[in-house]
């Protein structure tokens, strides 16, 4: 902690966020400070460009950080807001963990067996370019509950990235490691456990980190489109994506931003957890 406080990079980060918030506050209060007559020619110009005349384009329409903070403190005590967090986290984690459980062995088998590669890879490569969101209608049809449909879509978001990274990572292990292990009497099972697995681990970590990012993108969109699995929690607990959607429909623009920032924080926390776990399982990489 002390080290962090004496690190200039940390303070640079703090300053950058502060400046961003200040500019945003100023921008969204443009309706107030643009009131004087002095700004009339500028307002006329905006009008000529097709924008609304009384405030700055884009940023002027966004609720100010102070208003967002107000709205946030209001929902902070609301259990349905936290229920949304919980639902989104739950969906992201179950989709993500399923993607790891299925994706890692699948990627490894593609890398290790020519037969598995021959059978599995073409299908995989045809399905891979289909964006997870294109699966939304189909998965709502063929999954029994909306909840499982959303989880399936988040699963897809992470699955392809994990498989591709595992496959690439396992294939790029230097042949010398196999030769050395073989010379020293390692069996096939030993080589798998002691060479292929640790050799692929850095790629698994990278693939998971990227996959986690995609999972958050996907879950939010899936929640918006599907109505947030309304039969299980109704309007309460539809996930953060549905929280945003509901705020939009309800006209609470501050709350939209609250939802957006919440997702930013959630994604950051998940990535950070993953990075921490990744460092823990690949301690040799910090040596480089």
């Amino acid at each position: 902690m002390k080290k962090m406080l004496s690190n200039p990079a940390f303070w640079r980060g703090v300053a950058s966020i502060a400046v961003f918030l200040i500019l945003w506050e100023i921008g969204s209060r443009s309706k107030q400070w643009m009131a004087p007559e002095f700004f009339t020619p500028f307002k006329e110009f905006l009008g000529a460009m097709g924008f609304k005349k009384d405030y700055l384009p884009w940023v002027g329409a966004v609720p100010a950080p102070s208003a967002v903070l107000d709205s946030w403190t209001a929902v902070f005590v609301d259990t349905s807001y936290w229920q949304s967090w919980y639902m989104s986290f739950f969906r992201v984690m179950s989709g993500f963990i399923a993607a790891m459980i299925i994706g890692i062995p699948f990627g490894l088998s593609l890398a290790m067996s020519r037969v598995a590669h021959g059978i599995g890879f073409p299908v995989f490569e045809v399905l891979r370019p289909i964006p997870p969101l294109a699966w939304v209608p189909a998965s709502i049809i063929f999954w029994p509950t909306q909840e499982s449909a959303i989880t399936f879509i988040t699963f897809l978001g992470a699955f392809y990235t994990i498989v591709i990274n595992v496959l690439g990572g396992a294939r790029s292990i230097d042949v010398r490691y196999f030769q050395a292990a073989q010379s020293m009497g390692a069996s096939r099972a030993d080589i798998f456990r002691r060479v292929i697995l640790p050799g692929t681990l850095p790629s698994i970590v990278v693939g998971s980190a990227v996959g986690m990012g995609i999972t958050w993108e996907v879950v939010v969109a899936a929640e918006m489109i599907s109505g947030g699995g309304s039969q299980i929690g109704g309007t309460r607990g539809g996930g953060l994506g549905f929280f945003i959607w509901l705020s939009y429909v309800g006209g609470s623009y501050e709350q939209i931003v609250v939802g957006m920032i919440s997702i930013g924080i959630a994604g950051f926390v998940s990535s950070e957890l993953l990075r921490w776990g990744g460092r823990y399982v690949t301690p040799w990489l910090k040596a480089r």
Partner: protein, 289 residues
């Protein structure tokens, strides 16, 4: 070309050891025989005595690594045979030897497992072969690392220590398997010349304690004469012995040898042969490797 070298040489057996006799007989290796048919090794014969340090010198890409891979069992040969202590490793009928702990390779760029600490790397062989229990292997590994002056880096990962140290750890890892022969493939190529000189003395020191046969590939003539009992100068692709030099400088050697008169004479004797092959390789535009 020097015609006296096609046959087997056995003029200077060091007789320091009773195991690790390697006989290479008429080995031929053709890459892609159905297509481009590149001849990498051409009827190569060489006999290496137990406990001998045999240096193989040739320009980059001449096919010497192919020979090493054949002995190690990583690649097939096209014809001929390789025999170690009376056991046929590979022959025309069975072109690929089985890799085993009796012949351990120390690779050009090193092959310590980066995900294991140096100590874990060192105990890998005996534990895999079931020769030692993990605890015994760790005790032995500690002792051998200490012997090589590497106690301080036991718990470091290979990526955390200098490349010179990594190479020494790798040699210790090889010796932990109690091999009959060490096969070294330009292990010091990537090191700077000062580190190299330290490594040479360290290798000899380890060798004097564990007399194994050493099959050492290099393109550095000075390194070859300094370390070897014999130096086989190879022709560029296809590879076979062009000239075999008996280095009559007695072991144990230290760096004083480098400035001795005899050392200089031996360099002069062989320099032309090496240069000639290097020139041929250069003109043929062989790829490094």
């Amino acid at each position: 070309m020097d015609q006296s070298v096609g046959a087997i040489h056995r003029e200077r057996p060091p007789a320091a050891s009773t195991r690790g006799h390697i006989l290479i007989e008429d080995v031929v290796k053709v890459y892609d025989p159905a297509g481009a048919a590149v001849m990498a090794v051409d009827h190569c014969s060489l006999e290496i005595e137990p406990g001998e340090i045999c240096m193989i010198v040739g320009p980059s890409g001449c096919g010497k690594t192919t020979l090493l891979n054949a002995i190690a069992g990583f690649h097939e040969i096209t014809s001929g045979r390789i025999v170690m202590d009376g056991e046929v490793l590979c022959s025309t009928g069975r072109p690929k030897a089985t890799p085993g702990p009796d012949r351990i390779v120390v690779f050009q760029n090193g092959a310590l497992f980066p995900w294991k600490t140096n100590l874990e790397n060192v105990v890998f062989g005996p534990v895999m072969q079931g020769k030692l229990a993990r605890k015994e292997a760790i005790d032995k590994g500690r002792a051998m690392l200490a012997d090589a002056g590497l106690s301080g880096v036991e718990h470091n990962y290979p990526g955390e220590v200098s490349s010179g140290m990594r190479r020494r750890v790798e040699i210790v890892r090889a010796l932990m398997n109690d091999p009959k022969a060490l096969l070294l493939d330009e292990p010091y190529r990537a090191l700077d010349s000062l580190t190299k000189s330290v490594m040479h003395e360290a290798l000899l020191e380890i060798y004097y304690k564990n007399k194994v046969t050493i099959f050492f590939i290099t393109h550095d003539l000075e390194e070859a004469i300094f370390l070897g009992h014999r130096v086989a100068i190879m022709t560029t692709r296809p590879c076979k012995p062009k000239k075999i030099l008996n280095v009559d400088i007695p072991h144990p050697r230290d760096y004083g040898v480098l400035t001795s008169k005899r050392f200089r004479e031996l360099i002069e004797e062989t320099n032309d042969a090496v240069h000639e092959e290097a020139l041929k390789a250069f003109q043929a535009g062989e790829k490094e490797g």
